[in-house]
């Protein structure tokens, strides 16, 4: 029996998109293949590695563990919505300065997780930072430089707010 496709309207980084999708299409694949937003990376596709972390209605979510059709009417933020190469977001700038990345594969997820943390509380404890980055696998850095990058980003965010 053929499965009916479903209409989905989402706002990603401020832009409205409308597509017809198969219900089984994962949100991660929707972002990458339907919308061409390949900044969101895909790793394990069963919710363990955290590569596909995005903000769904303001909260981090594994986009491999949601169906695109479920995002109908939702607001999504991905790494493409942060900064540009010429005008980095404060968190991206901090990752660059503190060498918070090597191969870069986990970086979009790390950035989006840091966005959720810092926007909710620009003065996170070290424990909160560890909990945040601990949900995303990084096999290059050993995490220390990522933690330092998030600390610097939080400090800059506080300073700019004053």
């Amino acid at each position: 029996m053929p499965i009916a496709s479903e209409s989905v309207r989402v706002t990603v980084n401020g832009t409205m998109y409308e597509r017809n999708v198969e219900p089984r299409l994962l949100l991660s694949d929707f972002l990458r293949h339907e919308l061409g937003l390949t900044g969101t990376h895909v790793g394990c596709e069963h919710g363990v590695c955290g590569m596909c972390t995005i903000l769904l209605d303001g909260r981090t979510a594994r986009s491999c563990l949601a169906f695109a059709v479920q995002a109908d009417g939702c607001q999504i933020r991905t790494v493409e919505g942060l900064g540009t190469a010429d005008a980095l977001h404060a968190i991206q700038e901090a990752f660059w300065e503190m060498h918070g990345l090597q191969c870069g594969y986990c970086t979009p997820a790390m950035l989006m997780a840091a966005v959720e943390l810092i926007e909710a509380n620009p003065n996170p404890s070290r424990e909160e930072i560890l909990e945040t980055v601990g949900g995303i696998l990084c096999r290059c850095t050993g995490y220390q430089t990522i933690v330092e990058a998030v600390e610097l980003a939080a400090r800059r965010t506080r300073e700019r707010a004053q």
């Binding site: 219900p23 994962l26 596709e45 955290g50 769904l56 594994r62 169906f67 949900g135």
Partner: protein
Amino acid sequence: MKPPPFEYVRPVDLDGVLGALAQNSGETKILAGGQSLVPMMNLRLVAPKRLVDINRVPGLDRIARDGDRLLIGALARHTDVLTSPVVREYAPLVVAAYRHVAHRPIRNRGTIGGNLAHADPASELPAVMLALDAEFVLRSLAGERQVAAERFFLGTFETAARAAEVLTAIHIPLAAGSRRWGFEETSQRQGDFALVAVAVTFAVDGGRCANPRLAYAGAADRAVRIAAAEAALEGQSPDQTLFEQVAAKAAEAADPPEDLHADAAYRRDLVRALTRRALSAAARG
């Protein structure tokens, strides 16, 4: 790593959900937070023909004091349960256990009802619900019934909920809040499922333990209370010697699974060590 095709329905109210489940003989699954179901579908461990997405049903995520009980709607996200002031006040054991549950993005989407209905034997929350004497509210077109946590978890991924039923709420008696409690867990990494976790509660009446609950994840094919250990605690004065004895009873009575993460002997040893620690923490208050 892509899920097999399925038909998708998204009712806008509970009646719609019950109607969609009415003829269910197992081919339809309820989609709540999806944090267990979707990985299983991606891994093709399950292939439901139809998903009933309950995420747009209003009111199912309510968290409130309701008379002499705490009511947690089945669709409440872990993050919202964890940060709820009434949960903190009336069921601090739930908050303590949540420190061990997954990572933020999973907790943001995963629901307490989905977790309990999934009934993973290594998950913390079923054991917590056993320790708190929680009741689960199940609805179908035939009506509503309540099932005690004690009679809900039947086996690995197996519960007393029928195919036409949806779990709508969890009730936790408020009396639970005045009881002593402790929670201990060992996992491979922060946020992983428990190798073993223990949730204990007891009242202290005239200097003696009363009505104790010792509930475990990772100690059997499902979340279980260990009656022999509870009996050893009942009516006794809480001290370290007693706690050692109770822990030994629990370890003896446990029937832990073996897998590539831990053998049964190690899990049994964890049952002993964690029981002692959780009882000590509970006694300290």
